[in-house]
């Protein structure tokens, strides 16, 4: 029998089976990757907890990894990550939400055509460029401010403007695109009749937006906020360039170190137990991110129920 291309013959059946098997392998790569990452971070991150002691490592505040009598307390580092993320979300989310409202409810087509691409481009700019600009533009301004505020102080350690505040501003800018685009699509998904009903009852446009539209898009907007939190927690290079990098209590004008920047600045040379502790830092960061992911999953499920 002559073979016809594409018609399943004897060979074609083996090809079909082979293709199916190969595609399945491709599909499980993601599962394998997540399992491997989880396994490695736990396997490499747990030993230091045992060797240094859970309490001393997680709640100790002194970080002197290379001293004669080394001390590995990462409490300030964890705290800096939490405070830095929280503050940047506090600044970035209102601005992002207002911009999303602008894009979806207020602006005409022509203004949207300027703002929308600008937001997309902000998302595409590499983080090292944000870091570079933070170093050149933000740090000098903050240094001037620092000199004014701490003019008479004898205890303040000058940072040259490389402090928590600089990191917070850079992070707030970097999470903006995420917050804006996710909130905007949530607001767009709100059915038009809700707005119409509110306007028909005599509510003003602003009353409608804040009393009806935004609450209706609540779970989508929250998703954007949580995604922003994840991004801020995980950002490394940009804030490593602007935040100074000493292990300190996260006060606005202190030079600080985050979980991520801790890895960036010390992974290159750390050895022995110091290196193991850095893996623990990675593990702590990973656990935070997993928490964020779980919240996201919850939100997405709830969101799914809302609309269907």
């Amino acid at each position: 029998m002559k073979k016809i291309k594409g018609i399943p013959g004897h060979d074609a059946f083996t090809a079909e089976r082979l293709a199916r098997a190969l595609l399945l392998i491709c599909a499980v790569v993601a599962i394998f990757a997540v399992c491997a990452i989880t396994f490695y971070l736990f396997a490499k991150g747990l030993p230091a907890l045992h060797r240094v002691g859970v309490g001393e490592l997680l709640f100790g505040t002194i970080w002197k990894p290379t001293a004669a009598e080394p001390s590995f307390g990462i409490a300030y580092i964890i705290l800096s990550s939490i405070v830095g993320t929280a503050l940047s979300v506090l600044v970035g989310v209102p601005v992002g939400l207002l911009t999303a409202v602008f894009l979806t409810e207020v602006s005409g087509k022509r203004l949207s055509a300027i703002v929308q691409p600008a937001v997309e481009l902000l998302a595409a700019i590499p983080s090292v460029i944000y870091g570079l600009l933070g170093m050149m533009l933000l740090n000098p301004v903050l240094y001037k401010l620092e000199k004014i505020i701490f003019a008479g102080s004898t205890t303040h350690q000058y940072t040259g403007g490389a402090d928590l505040l600089a990191a917070v501003i850079v992070l707030a800018i970097m999470i903006l695109p995420t917050v804006i685009s996710v909130s905007a699509s949530a607001i767009r998904a709100v059915p038009g009749q809700l707005r119409a009903a509110s306007l028909a009852l005599g509510a003003s446009k602003m009353q409608t937006i804040w009393g009806v539209t935004v609450p209706a898009a609540k779970s989508g907007i929250l998703t954007g906020v949580v995604l922003g939190i994840g991004r801020a927690l995980g950002e490394a290079m940009a804030i490593n360039m602007v935040a100074g990098g000493s292990v300190n209590l996260p006060l606005p004008f202190n030079s600080v170190r985050f979980l991520t920047t801790q890895l960036v600045s010390e992974m290159g040379y750390a050895e022995g137990i110091h290196r193991q502790v850095l893996f623990t830092v990675g593990l702590v960061l990973y656990l935070f991110i997993m928490l964020v992911n779980l919240v996201l999953l919850r939100l997405r499920r709830e969101g799914g129920n809302d609309h269907g």
């Binding site: 594409g6 399943p8 074609a12 059946f13 090809a15 079909e16 293709a19 199916r20 190969l22 595609l23 399945l24 392998i25 491709c26 599909a27 790569v29 993601a30 599962i31 990757a33 997540v34 990452i37 490695y40 971070l41 490499k44 601005v95 207002l98 911009t99 602008f102 207020v106 203004l111 691409p117 600008a118 481009l121 700019i125 590499p126 983080s127 090292v128 460029i129 570079l132 170093m135 050149m136 533009l137 306007l199 028909a200 005599g202 446009k205 602003m206 995980g234 950002e235 490394a236 360039m241 991520t260 890895l263 960036v264 992974m267 893996f279 990675g282 960061l285 991110i289 992911n293 996201l296």
Partner: protein
């Protein structure tokens, strides 16, 4: 509309809110303008032909980023060689073969999780797994394999979206003509989904070009240029710093801001082109879907 009603009773809080909304929207535009202008003004002077085609060398007195350009290009190609087949394959399996069930939701959950993991953790894992366990050390290959995991969700998701828009009648038509499933996928579904797949690929390239944290401890920072073809291929197994890594080093430990801003200009131009390319493709996809 109720416009006349609302206009008559304009509340003061409304005007304040309008003001705030316009201010925030303008802020994004102003930020972008500031970033672009500042980088261009500070960096455009450092970018010239020699900067793009030579390697920084104290001996010869040259300042250039050719090595970093080549490293970036090689990382992009290597990563895409690995990520594109796997990502597209995963999407095809999820969309065309798998029946909804535990495995599918597990794969989708894993893909979601993967896209939420910060790049510094990918770097940490990559240096442990590909670098130490597999013995690849600091090399372009280690960096590319690490980034492969990072961009996988992006490619899978975009391909899935594109496959979903291919009408079922195409599949039924192919089956009706007696074509096998794999044959249908190869000749009908994948070509129809091509703009979507390409959009995902372009977005992935954008992420690779801009990535730094995941590469610092996987691909390293070397910036030499290979002289022979054999050395070119050997480079895959050697350390190599991309543009972003060099920018970081120039701005921090080397304190060479003119190089840093020069690289920033190059990066911005590349990112701009990638952004426009993805947009043009997305538009084409949109037009196709409406037909």
């Amino acid at each position: 509309m109720g416009e006349s009603l609302t206009l008559r009773r304009k509340r003061p809080t409304d005007s304040i809110l309008y003001g705030l909304i316009y201010f925030c929207a303008l802020l994004s535009v102003a930020l972008l303008a500031l970033i672009l202008l500042y980088v261009l003004i500070r960096g455009v002077g450092s970018v010239n032909w020699a900067f793009l085609t030579t390697v920084t060398s104290k001996l010869k007195g040259t300042v250039g980023i050719a090595g970093n350009l080549l490293n970036t290009l090689m990382i992009v190609v290597l990563t895409m060689l690995a990520a594109l087949p796997i990502g597209v394959g995963a999407a095809v399996y999820l969309n065309e073969y798998a029946k909804p069930g535990k495995l599918v939701s597990l794969i989708e959950f894993a893909t979601e999780t993967l896209s939420g993991i910060p790049s510094i953790l990918f770097g940490l894992f990559g240096s442990m797994f590909f670098g130490e366990t597999l013995g690849l050390g600091y090399s372009l290959l280690t960096g590319a394999l690490t980034l492969m995991l990072m961009v996988l969700p992006l490619i899978t998701r975009n391909t899935q979206e594109a496959l979903k828009t291919v009408p079922d009648s195409y599949r039924q038509g192919a089956v009706g003509l007696g074509a096998g499933k794999w044959y249908t996928i190869r000749t009908i579904l994948l070509p129809s989904a091509m703009p979507g797949i390409l959009t995902g690929a372009i977005l992935a390239i954008g992420r690779i070009v801009g990535e730094s944290a995941a590469l610092l401890f996987t691909a390293g920072a070397a910036k030499t240029l290979p002289k022979t073809l054999a050395k070119f291929f050997a480079k895959i197994f050697q350390s190599g710093g991309t543009l972003t890594i060099q920018l970081y080093l120039s701005a921090t430990s080397e304190g060479d801001f003119s190089t840093a801003f020069g690289i920033a200009v190059v990066l911005l131009v590349v990112v701009l082109f990638i952004n426009m390319g993805a947009k043009a493709l997305a538009k084409r996809l949109d037009v196709q879907n409406r037909k």
